[in-house]
């Protein structure tokens, strides 16, 4: 009986410490290096499966795929050419306005380690880590749009906090009207949550949401999702809506890591919620202010205090 109590107290202490973040977080990152072989082993069957399937495809199938991809490439190249002229024009206009130049985006391809992690936590493991130049804070995108951000790295893996994690928030702007809002994760992999939309705000069903770049963690202009039907929230003073994520957030594919965008360190002391309390009131407060002014807390990788990660970023900066 005593042993049971001792173990229960120990487990509770672990949970509370892990939840609060701090030194246990660091210890955990260290320990995760030790369990990497297990991840690798667990991902093996699907790797072998993909390999076998690739071996088994017939010539005709390959030819068909080839043709389809070539057509797709043609369409995209044509679109790209048009984008380039638009970008050049944009650059000129920017020059006329005298605003800061926006750097080109540099990306790195990484594949997702195909394993199922805890289903209550919206995380992904990437098959590339700090040895491959992955850094904490990098934005992760796919062809559709923003997926999330890197929250921890080990030498050969990196864990990604998805947009859909309830601890995640991303500042967005409505593409049509430019209204700035905050999109939260819902804990479900197929939906995001748009909360605290002022009743008078020009937001409609079907609006595209793009990252606004406020807060400095994510670069502006990446698709986040499409607004679903709006409904009044519990307080009846604001509207809320579900958002269909633009990126495909399921497993088993490749993702792109943004490089060359230097995340601006988030201002820490302007909001009492930044240190990562999930309290409902805290979130609402942050969102209310976000509609009118830049948010300081871009994302809240909850158990992960932002300071150490920034330290790591600045320390690796000279390498780039």
């Amino acid at each position: 009986m005593l042993r049971l109590l001792a173990f229960l107290i120990l487990a509770t202490a672990l949970m509370v410490l892990d939840y609060r973040g701090g030194w246990l977080r660091m210890a955990r990152t260290q320990a995760e290096v030790a369990v990497q072989p297990l991840w690798w082993l667990a991902a093996l069957p699907s790797k072998v499966g993909v390999g076998l399937r690739e071996e088994a495809v017939t010539r005709t199938q390959l030819a068909r795929d080839n043709e389809r991809l070539r057509n797709a490439l043609l369409v995209i190249a044509a679109r790209n050419a048009r984008m380039r002229t638009a970008a050049a024009e944009n650059e000129r206009l920017r020059g006329l306005l005298g605003s800061a130049e926006r750097g080109r985006l540099d990306v790195q391809l990484a594949s997702i380690l195909d394993i199922d992690l805890d289903p209550t936590r919206q995380r992904l493991l990437l098959d590339a880590g700090s040895n491959g130049g992955v850094q904490v804070g990098q934005a992760v995108i796919d062809a559709g749009g923003l997926m999330g951000q890197v929250i921890a790295t080990t030498p050969s893996t990196a864990s990604v906090l998805l947009l859909t994690d309830p601890d995640h928030a991303v500042p967005v702007a409505v593409a049509r009207s430019g209204i700035r809002l905050v999109v939260y994760g819902s804990g479900r992999s197929d939906a995001l949550h748009l909360a605290d939309v002022p009743l008078s705000a020009d937001v409609r069903r079907g609006d595209q949401l793009l990252t606004s770049g406020l807060g400095g963690r994510f670069p502006p202009g990446f698709a986040v999702g499409t607004v679903g039907p709006l409904r009044p929230d519990d307080s009846r003073a604001f509207l809320e809506a579900d958002v269909v994520p633009a990126a495909q957030l399921d497993r088993g594919r490749d993702v792109l890591l943004l490089r060359g965008y230097k995340p601006v360190p988030a201002v820490q002391d302007s909001s009492p919620c930044v240190q990562g309390e999930v309290g409902r009131g805290c979130e609402a407060q942050g969102a209310e202010s976000s509609a009118t002014q830049p948010v300081s807390a871009t994302a809240k990788p909850l158990p992960n205090p932002p300071l150490p990660s920034q330290g790591r970023e600045t320390s690796t900066e000279p390498r780039r």
Binding site: L8, L14, M15, S46, P119
Partner: protein, 159 residues
């Protein structure tokens, strides 16, 4: 239990149980993934009482939390509770027929889901969809075959 034991079966089966928890399943099957770790641990708690106790359950739980990327300590708590209950009823359960044992295991797995849900409530984590509550049923169905396989491996004569 004085027969020649295959000592490697215990660690290997636990590692395999961990791996089975990680192996990607299609989205439809994901919710009903049985809690392999609890099943295998339950087997060893019943059969190798001297080697496997609360300490092993706790260590295994912490390891599982690390591997699955969950809240550190959650599975440790769940497995310790299960180990304690099994330990209490071990003497009786060992003489149950397999079908009755499976029933008890099903109840324990269900209890495990309740504990997990309670932890999520306290920690403010999101609850799992209702389909995850079906997993104990599958775990119950798997008890007999698992028992059979592990028995065969453990008691097999060497050579």
């Amino acid at each position: 239990m004085s027969r020649a034991r295959n000592g490697w079966v215990l660690p290997v089966s636990l590692v395999v149980a961990l791996l089975l928890g990680l192996v990607p399943l299609p989205g439809m099957l994901q919710p009903v993934r049985p809690y392999w770790l609890a099943l295998v641990l339950a087997y060893w708690l019943l059969e190798e009482h001297e080697q496997v106790g609360l300490g092993v359950a706790f260590t295994l739980g912490v390891l599982a939390d690390l591997v699955f990327g969950g809240l550190l300590g959650e599975q440790a708590m769940r497995l310790v509770v299960m180990a304690f209950i099994l330990d209490r009823f071990r003497a009786r359960m060992r003489f149950f027929p397999l079908s009755q044992q499976a029933l008890v295991i099903g109840v324990l797995l269900f209890n495990d889901r309740v504990i997990s849900a309670a932890i999520h409530v306290v920690m403010g984590a999101p609850q799992l969809p209702w389909r995850y509550w079906l997993a104990p049923l599958l775990g119950m169905a798997l008890w007999a075959p698992l028992h059979f396989v592990l028995d065969a491996l453990r008691l097999r004569r060497r050579g």
